[in-house]
């Protein structure tokens, strides 16, 4: 039961990565690509947490923590640059 739920979650995450890459390739403006970067960062945090649960190595949670603390930084920098503020 748990294995099939984990497999389903991995499939959903791979679908989300594919959709994010599609928006990154297709997106006509810079803002679309920044939103794709933010989406892919969130999906990667979920994926790292899922890998930590599946392999029972909870040191991997620290990587997801570092991502969660630093993910807003690049999006914030791009937003400030687009508004001529950086």
């Amino acid at each position: 039961m748990a294995e099939s739920i984990l497999g389903l979650a991995v499939i959903i995450i791979m679908l989300a990565i594919a959709l994010g890459i599609y928006r990154l390739v297709k997106g006509p403006t810079v803002v679309d690509r920044v939103i794709a970067l933010d989406l892919l960062t969130l999906v990667s945090i979920a994926l790292i947490a899922l890998i930590a649960h599946a392999t029972s190595r909870f040191i991997y949670i620290d990587v997801a923590l570092v991502y969660g603390l630093l993910s807003f930084l690049s999006v914030l920098a791009v937003a400030r640059y687009l508004e001529k503020g950086l």
């Binding site: 497999g7 991995v10 791979m14 990565i17 594919a18 890459i21 990154l24 390739v25 810079v30 690509r33 920044v34 970067l37 892919l40 960062t41 990667s44 994926l47 790292i48 890998i51 190595r57 040191i59 991997y60 620290d62 990587v63 570092v66 991502y67 630093l70 993910s71 930084l73 690049s74 920098a77 791009v78 640059y81 687009l82 001529k84 950086l86």
Partner: protein, 85 residues
Amino acid sequence: MMTLLTLVLCIGILISALLAAYLERRVAAVVSAGLVGLFASVTYVILSAPDVAMTEAAIGSGITTVIFLFALSKTKQQPGKKADE
């Protein structure tokens, strides 16, 4: 399942690197270069190297984008080109 996941991540690295090389807008290229670090970091976690992944997350994906954008805002644009917003 893990092999398919690693394949998807490596295709993501390849597409992001190609976009960073071929995009016209400089800000979009910087964003794509940050995504290379993001996918590489998840791949390092799958390859059982969490310390490398943490360093890549902090430096390759976070700080590098900020430094590139800071340098872009300090440089002057070329006289014939349109302003890169």
